[in-house]
């Protein structure tokens, strides 16, 4: 019954069937425009969701395929240049112990920051003292303070 009513409304509304003259609309007209109108807008945009999602998946798959292909090609090529260029893989093992190095240098970093703050203090005549340095947690967990500040600055104009 509902479907029949909707079909009737659609056929009634097709091709500018409501005149724009100065007369009040009857109930079937305004109900028809409201619900069929909203339905058509939803339908058009749902269709767009489907098409755009399919395109998105397609491109993701294509990207994945291309990356695989590149990795495969690189793997195939790898043995040959390795004879000539033995050095490039060397930096990789160096990068691994980096976090440990940062931890070791923590005191140095704090000293550098303290020196920077002391310089700032010299400029405006105030003496600063650093009482504690705590690891970031809570609200900014998972994101560095610099990254948070960068985002805040980017969003601020909006």
């Amino acid at each position: 019954m509902d479907f029949l009513l909707l079909t009737h409304q659609l056929s009634m509304l097709a091709g500018g069937s409501i005149d724009g003259d100065k007369r009040p609309l009857d109930i079937s007209e305004w109900l028809g425009v409201t619900f069929v109108g909203l339905g058509v807008v939803m339908l058009a945009l749902v269709l767009l969701i489907i098409v755009i999602t399919i395109f998105g998946k397609l491109f993701e798959a294509l990207d994945g395929y291309e990356q695989k292909k590149k990795a495969k090609e690189a793997a195939e090529k790898a043995p040959r240049p390795s004879a000539v260029k033995a050095a490039p893989p060397a930096p990789a093992p160096k990068a691994a112990p980096a976090p440990a190095a940062v931890q070791e240098d923590e005191g140095e970093i704090i000293a550098a920051i303290t020196a920077a703050i002391a310089m700032m203090g010299e400029a405006d005549g105030t003496v600063y003292q650093i009482r504690s340095v705590k690891p970031a947690g809570g609200v900014s967990a998972g994101r560095s303070a610099w990254a948070m500040d960068g985002r805040r600055q980017n969003v601020a104009p909006f």
Binding site: S17, L45, V46, F158
Partner: protein, 404 residues
């Protein structure tokens, strides 16, 4: 002596001061135009539009006795618009009458959409296509306002459609629909008053939306952090405008001019091959059209058009349309949040009304009020730009249903 008297008398009778003694209502409109100028210059409310609109209002309301001297003839636009009528406007019209033809012939709204297209990044929408649903839901403001205008206020189809489209929160779309539906003979309303209401409410988005957003969402919902969006490839961004134009034009051909120009602008931008055209469309062309549109729309707000109950009705229904659009978007976003298991912040639903980027800005602002580390701006841009497409489709639906 008599000659001198007759010359002076003639001068007096053709002066604006004499016109003022005949009809003083124009003083009210000039006062309102000063108020709008104050809002634009001192308060900085949408000055790029409000200042041309207010000065157009000022020019059109200056008192004249001889109609030939008028810069704008409100009476012309209340006549049935036949082919002869267009000749009459070109022959007898003032400067602003001729500029207003660009509104009446729907040239300016489409050119503005071209400029908007070159400035819009559909990336967030491509990355999260479900945003289209929120852009569609917010168009509920248009259709529910149509229902109120028709059922409670017993307005005609052309009036209901022209007022309801204000809920799309999109100035060019409102002008496009109302200039097609209202032909001067079928209503006391005109495109100028619809445009004025639409742009006023767009400027008031920061006042209208946040209370509704807080009312319809819980603190817990407002604090939801959404997963980061993927970055779409260049190819996807190039294909997007073509696909959208194709689908919208196939489903609702009457929306093709608006959506087509929007997507053409976007294709120019995303192609990366037409930098000169993009530069012209988003700067020089956009600015020129904004000046013409603003000053000529402002000119239509003469006392005869604005000083009546119909304009009050437009303002009241316009506010209802904006609020209903915001609420519809929020409610669907709440439903989507529930269905997704709490992964979608409902605040981005209100951005489905297409006031870009003001509505997305409100989602960001209200979200950050609850949790300053929550960044909703990019998530809200998806529904926001979907709202532009949604309101253009809704405009197409209204135009295909109501004969004009």
């Amino acid at each position: 002596m008599e000659i001198l008297q007759s010359i002076l008398g003639g001068l007096w009778e053709t002066s604006g001061l004499y016109g003022l003694t005949q009809d003083w209502h124009c003083l009210i409109m000039i006062g309102i135009s000063f108020l709008f100028m104050y809002f634009a210059i001192v308060r900085g409310w949408e000055p790029l539009l409000l200042l041309p609109i207010s000065f157009g209002m000022f020019l059109a309301n200056l008192p004249v006795v001889n109609l030939e001297d008028a810069i704008f003839h409100a009476s012309f636009w209340n006549e049935p618009q036949t082919v002869d009528w267009f000749w009459k406007v070109l022959h007898d019209g003032g400067l602003l009458d001729k500029l207003y033809l660009g509104v009446k012939l729907q040239i300016y709204p489409c050119l503005i959409f071209l400029g908007i297209g070159t400035m819009t990044d559909f990336g967030p929408l491509i990355a999260n296509p479900k945003s289209f649903l929120l852009g569609a839901a917010a168009q509920g403001g248009i259709f529910f306002t149509f229902l109120i205008a028709a059922s409670v206020l017993h307005m005609s189809a052309a009036e209901c459609g022209s007022i309801a489209i204000i809920g799309g929160a999109d100035g060019p779309t409102s002008i496009y629909v109302s200039s097609k539906l209202l032909d001067g003979a079928n209503s006391n309303l005109n495109t100028g008053t619809i445009a004025l209401a639409a742009y006023t409410y767009m400027a008031l988005v920061p006042i209208i939306q946040p209370p509704l957003m807080r009312l319809f969402t819980t603190k817990k919902e407002r604090a939801i952090k959404m997963a980061q969006l993927r970055t779409p490839s260049k190819t996807e961004k190039i294909i997007f405008p073509i696909v959208v134009t194709l689908i919208v034009a196939l489903m609702v051909p009457s929306a093709a001019s608006l959506v087509g120009m929007l997507m053409f602008g976007n294709l120019l931008k995303e192609s990366g091959a037409c930098d000169r055209l993009v530069d012209t469309a988003q700067n020089a062309l956009m600015n020129i059209v904004t000046i013409f549109l603003g000053i000529s729309v402002g000119a239509t707000t003469t006392w005869s058009n604005v000083g009546n109950w119909d304009f009050i009705k437009v303002l009241a229904l316009g506010a209802a349309a904006f609020s209903l659009g915001t609420i519809s978007g929020l409610l669907l976003a709440k439903l989507m949040n529930w269905l997704s298991g709490g992964k979608l912040n409902p605040l981005i639903g209100s951005a489905g009304v297409s006031a870009v980027p003001m509505a997305a800005r409100q989602s960001q602002k209200v979200g950050a009020e609850t949790d300053p580390t929550n960044f909703l701006l990019m998530h809200a841009m998806g529904p926001n730009v979907a709202g532009v497409i949604g309101s253009a489709v809704a405009a197409g639906v209204l135009l295909s249903v109501i004969a004009y």
